[in-house]
Structures are given as structure tokens and as C-alpha cells.
């Protein structure tokens, strides 16, 4: 039985929740169906942005909003190996609530200057990867 504290392996997948505003299934280019804003850190992401390990949760669980409803969020899936190939890290960070929480510390709130620019590029690359693997589309 895997533990949420186990190191994250290269052959795992992680999920990221996608606000509908930042997903365009009709985008002319496949690589831009998901916008990089999906990976933009908020002021809550001081330690890094959140992703959820597919070993512990389903896309539907990730897609639910605060009230438990579906409709507002898509879900994308990323290969851990591909994430690491970009030079990004993922570390387990179990929390109350949704299981399988992990952190990507290179993309976090408060970056300035060159670090911020680099983070924006990485957000774009993550969005391109995510655009190819949208695993949950909310009901109309």
C-alpha cells in the first residue's frame, strides 16, 4: 500500500486543476489549449504550486470545487518524468483534505527578476505538456 509520504517516482503522474477560463478546447493549436495561467502561483503558493499524485486521487476528485461541485474545473495530467526533464522538482506534501498533495517549489509566489521570468517560461512549457493530456472535462 503506497504512502503519501513515499518519494515521487518518475513513472508516476500528477494532476492539476484547471479553471475553465484558462482552458480552450477549440484553440487553433493543440499546445495552447491550456493557458500558462494554470501554473501561475497564487499568494497561497509560497512554497510552490500544488499538484496531486494520481496514485491517490482520481481526476473527478481533483475537479470538485470548494463546495464539492463539478462544473468549474478541468483536470490535466502530467508525467513526472516529463516534469523533471524540464528541471522541475516534485516532493510529497500530504495535507488534510484531498490526498496525494505534492509541491513544485521552483514555481512559487514571490519570485522576482530573472527567477520570475524563468518561472513564466516553465509555466508555458507545463501548459504545453498539459494541453496534450486533459483527463477531465466538466459537464456542461
Amino acid at each position: 500500500m503506497p504512502s503519501e509520504n513515499d518519494p515521487i517516482e518518475d513513472d508516476e503522474y500528477v494532476y492539476r486543476r484547471v479553471l475553465h477560463t484558462w482552458c480552450d478546447l477549440n484553440s487553433e493549436f493543440l499546445a495552447h489549449r491550456i493557458d500558462r495561467q494554470v501554473f501561475h502561483p497564487t499568494d497561497k503558493d509560497k512554497e510552490g504550486i500544488s499538484l496531486y499524485r494520481a496514485l491517490f486521487v482520481t481526476p473527478v476528485q481533483v475537479a470538485r470545487d470548494r463546495e464539492g461541485n463539478l462544473g468549474r474545473y478541468f483536470v490535466v495530467r502530467l508525467s513526472v518524468a516529463q516534469v523533471r526533464a524540464l528541471g522541475l522538482s516534485l516532493k510529497p506534501d500530504p495535507q488534510d483534505g484531498l490526498r496525494g498533495h505534492s509541491l513544485m517549489s521552483e514555481i512559487r509566489h514571490g519570485l522576482k527578476g530573472e527567477e520570475k521570468k524563468r518561472a513564466k517560461e516553465l509555466q508555458l512549457r507545463l501548459a504545453e505538456l498539459a494541453s496534450a493530456d486533459i483527463v477531465f472535462v466538466p459537464p456542461p
Binding site: T21, W22, F29, H32, R72, E121, L124
Partner: protein, 154 residues
Amino acid sequence: MNNVIGFDRGTTHDLTNPAESGWRAHPSDTAWTTLLHNVETAFEAGDGWDGEDADAPSEALLASVFSLLRQLQNSGSPMPSRIIPTYDGGIVVEWHYPDKYIEMEIEEPYSADVMEACVGEPADHYELTWRRPSEATDYKISESIDVQQYAMTA
């Protein structure tokens, strides 16, 4: 770079229809302003437009984006691919091409952080500013964006 989405760098351009009375005062630009749907929705919904804690773009920011779009449109620039609100109350204007991505991230009125990213190359970053309509009868773009040349391949 010589083109500013259709402008030559450093050239002063007349703004024949400034958005001084507000960004919603020019309904004729149907195709371009349709792109503003997402940011308009966020503006009208106010803070928490995402259902959680996102800040809404301010009217001043929207006005500045509208002014920018009018300049781009008047210059014959390719229409942006997407215009979206950010979590922090900003607005991003994007152009998508097979081998290139360009964005202007506007977090303060009349100023944008530009990122141009080509496949397989480090991105280029720089700042773009433009004047408020009340400050002058014309505008000068202080930086340039090499978008025009990609219009033919979009």
C-alpha cells in the same frame, strides 16, 4: 526589431479614437472586443470571479488594454489569439503560432511585461509601455514586438 505589431519602433502614432470615456465606448470592434469576453466577465463579477479568491481586473486596467488593442488594430496587427484575466487582477494578451508564443502581461495600466518564446529557445522578455489617452493626442510605443512577420504563417 522593426515592427511593433505593425508599428515601426520609435514612431509616434495618432490615436484617432482614444478610449478616454471608457473601454466599453467602442462597440464597433466586434471581433477584437469579443476577445475581451473573459476579462469582461471577471470585471463584472468582481473579486472572487473564479469562485474563490482571484482579484478582478480594474476598470483602469481594462481601459489601458482597450487602448492598446485599438493601437494594435489600427496598425494592422494580427488579432490576438486569446485575452484572459489572471488570478492577481492582471490581463494577458496572447498570440499563438506554430513555432512561437507571444504574450503581454498587463498588471499595471499602460505597462506590459512581454514574453516571446520560440520552440527550443530561451524566451525573450522585455517591457512595453504606452501613454494614457489623457496625456497626449498620440501614442508612442517604447518597445517593439516582432509579431507582424508571423501573421502569414498563423
